[in-house]
C-alpha cells in the first residue's frame, strides 16, 4: 500500500494514470462497436500509421500529437472508404496500410535521426514521454470522445447491429461510421505514446472481447468493457511500477488474464447450467 502512495509522488506517474484511464475508457467503448462490426484490426492499422506520423514529427522536430492526429484521422477515413466502396476487403486494406506506414516510419527514421530512444519508446511505449501539454490535450480529447459516445449511444448501437435497417430508417450511417473511425483514430494516437504502437490496439479489442464472454446485452457489454479497461489499466500500472516492466506490456498482460478468467467463468456457468 505504501508503495502505491509512493508511486503517485512521481508527477509523471500521476500524469500517466490520468491519461491512461481516459484513453483506456475511450478505446474500450469504441472497441465494442469495432469488435462487433469485425473491424478489430483497424486499431492495429491505425497505430502503425500513428507510428509513422510520430517518426515524421520527430524528424521535423514538430509536436508529435499535432502532426499525427490529422494524419491518422485521414488514414482512418481512407481505410473506411476503401472497404465501404468494395475496393478492398477490410483485412487486406488494413494489412497494406499498416505495413506501408511502418516502412515509411522506419525509412524516415533511418534517413534522419537514426533509431533513438524516442523512436523505440513509440514502438513499445513509455510513460516518461508524456508532457504537460500532452496531458491537457489528451484529457480534452478524451472527454470529447466520451461525450459523443454517450450522446450517440443508440445510434452507434443501431449502426453496429444492423446498418441496412439504420440506413433505411434515416439514421445517417455514413456520418456515424466516420465518427467512430475519427474517434478511434484520436484515441489511438493519444494512447500510443504510453502503450506503444505494437500494443495499443489491445486496449481497443480486449475489453469488449472479454465482456462478451459473460454479458449478453449491448449495454452490459459496454459498461463491463469500460470498467474492465479502467481496472486492468490501474492493476497493470501498479505491476509495471513494482516490477519495472514497460507499462504497455503489463497492462496487456492484465487484460489477457482478465480474458482468461472470463473465459473460464463462461464455461463454468455453462457447465453448471447444464447440470
Amino acid at each position: 500500500m505504501d508503495s502505491i502512495v509512493e508511486m503517485f509522488a512521481y508527477p509523471f506517474i500521476a500524469r500517466a494514470f490520468i491519461v491512461g484511464i481516459l484513453v483506456s475508457l475511450c478505446a474500450a467503448l469504441l472497441g465494442v462497436s469495432l469488435v462487433l462490426k469485425q473491424y478489430s484490426m483497424i486499431g492495429d492499422g491505425l497505430s502503425h500509421v500513428s507510428y509513422a506520423a510520430l517518426c515524421i514529427a520527430l524528424a521535423c522536430n514538430a509536436a508529435p500529437l499535432f502532426v499525427s492526429i490529422p494524419i491518422v484521422v485521414c488514414a482512418a477515413f481512407l481505410l473506411l472508404r476503401m472497404t465501404e466502396k468494395g475496393f478492398m476487403k477490410s483485412d487486406a486494406a488494413i494489412a497494406v496500410v499498416s505495413a506501408s506506414a511502418l516502412a515509411i516510419g522506419v525509412s524516415v527514421t533511418s534517413l534522419t535521426t537514426g533509431m533513438t530512444m524516442d523512436v523505440s519508446s513509440y514502438m513499445f511505449g513509455s510513460i516518461l514521454v508524456m508532457t504537460r501539454e500532452d496531458v491537457i490535450l489528451s484529457v480534452f480529447l478524451s472527454v470529447v470522445v466520451l461525450f459523443l459516445f454517450v450522446f450517440f449511444y443508440h445510434q452507434i448501437f443501431t449502426v453496429t447491429f444492423d446498418e441496412n435497417f439504420a440506413k433505411a430508417t434515416g439514421v445517417k450511417t455514413g456520418f456515424f461510421n466516420s465518427m467512430i473511425a475519427i474517434l478511434t483514430a484520436v484515441t489511438i494516437v493519444l494512447g500510443m505514446q504510453m502503450m506503444g504502437a505494437l500494443l495499443i490496439s489491445s486496449l481497443v479489442i480486449f475489453p469488449s472481447l472479454t465482456s462478451i464472454r459473460l454479458f449478453r446485452s449491448f449495454r452490459g457489454v459496454v459498461l463491463c468493457s469500460g470498467c474492465l479497461a479502467v481496472v486492468c489499466f490501474c492493476i497493470g500500472m501498479v505491476i509495471s511500477y513494482q516490477s519495472a516492466m514497460p507499462a504497455g506490456a503489463s497492462v496487456v498482460l492484465v487484460h489477457l488474464a482478465a480474458f482468461c478468467l472470463f473465459f473460464l467463468l463462461q464455461h463454468l456457468i455453462k457447465i453448471t447450467g447444464n447440470q
Binding site: L36, K37, F152, F157, T158, F161, F165, S217, R219
Partner: protein
C-alpha cells in the same frame, strides 16, 4: 393493371419511372402503386431488380428516370423495414428490448434516452407477436423464427403504415415461416400495408392481394387472380 382510381390513397405511387443504379436502368416504364392496407408480394429471379425496387422505395437510391412518390405519412424513415439478417447479428450481444427500441431512432430526438411511451409501444409490439416473455433475453440465443419476430417488432416501431420485408422466410424452417406469415396476415388485417420480396411463390399467391413479378426488364403487376391467369405464373410453375 388494377385499381388506379384517383380517390384511393396511395402510399407509394410510381408512374413511368425507370429504376436502377448509376444511370443504368434495370426496370423501365415502371407503373407501381401501393395503397393503404395492400398486401403486395414481389417475386422474380435474382438480378431482376427486386432489391433495386426495395432500395428505391426506402429512399436509399433515386430512380434513374421519373420519381417514386411516397405519401406524407411514410416519408423516409416511417417505413417499417425488415432487412435480411446479417452474419454479424447472429452472435451479437444485445437484448431483445434493445433491438426493438432501435426502431424508434427514425424519429427526431432531443434526448439520447428513449421515452417511457416508446418503451411501452415497444413492449406492446413484442406482445402482439407473442414475444413479450423474451424482452430481456439475448437476441443471439433465440431461434431463427424468434429473431425474425423481434426484427418485425422493431420494424413495427418504425412503421407508420407500411412494412417492407426482404425475404423474411430465408433460413427459417417451414413451421417458423408459416407462423411468420400468420403474423404478417394479422398485421395486414389490422390495416398495415405489406410489401414483401419473397422466393416462396406458393405462400405469396395464397396471402397477397397483388403480385409484382419482375422478369428480365419486364414485369407484371396486378391482382393474384389476374396473375394466375397470366403467362408469368406459368414461368414460375414450370420452374418448380
Amino acid at each position: 393493371m388494377s385499381g388506379r382510381e384517383k380517390e384511393k390513397k396511395y402510399l407509394i405511387f410510381c408512374e413511368d419511372a425507370s429504376l436502377g443504379y448509376d444511370n443504368q436502368a434495370i426496370i423501365e416504364h415502371f407503373y407501381f402503386q401501393v395503397a393503404a392496407g395492400d398486401y403486395v408480394c414481389v417475386v422474380g429471379e435474382n438480378g431482376s431488380g427486386k432489391s433495386t425496387l426495395l432500395k428505391t422505395i426506402l429512399g436509399l437510391i433515386k430512380p434513374v428516370k421519373g420519381e417514386v412518390v411516397l405519401d406524407d405519412a411514410i416519408r423516409q424513415g416511417a417505413i417499417g423495414y425488415l432487412p435480411q439478417q446479417t452474419q454479424i447479428q447472429r452472435q451479437f450481444p444485445a437484448s431483445v428490448m434493445e433491438v426493438v427500441l432501435s426502431g424508434f431512432l427514425n424519429r427526431k430526438r432531443k434526448s439520447p434516452f428513449f421515452r417511457a411511451d416508446e418503451k411501452k409501444i415497444a413492449w406492446k409490439q413484442l406482445k402482439k407477436l407473442g414475444m413479450e416473455q423474451f424482452a430481456n433475453a439475448c437476441y443471439a440465443n433465440l431461434s431463427g423464427g424468434q429473431q425474425q419476430r423481434v426484427l418485425l417488432a422493431r420494424a413495427l416501431c418504425a412503421a407508420g403504415a407500411i412494412l417492407v420485408l426482404d425475404e423474411p422466410a430465408t433460413g427459417l424452417d417451414p413451421m417458423a415461416a408459416e407462423s411468420l406469415y400468420e403474423n404478417l396476415e394479422m398485421l395486414h388485417e389490422e390495416g398495415m400495408a405489406v410489401v414483401m420480396v419473397t422466393h416462396d411463390i406458393r405462400s405469396a399467391v395464397s396471402q397477397a392481394d397483388y403480385i409484382l413479378h419482375l422478369n428480365d426488364g419486364d414485369y407484371f403487376y396486378g391482382s393474384v387472380e389476374k396473375y394466375m391467369d397470366s403467362e408469368y405464373s406459368d414461368i414460375f410453375s414450370d420452374r418448380k
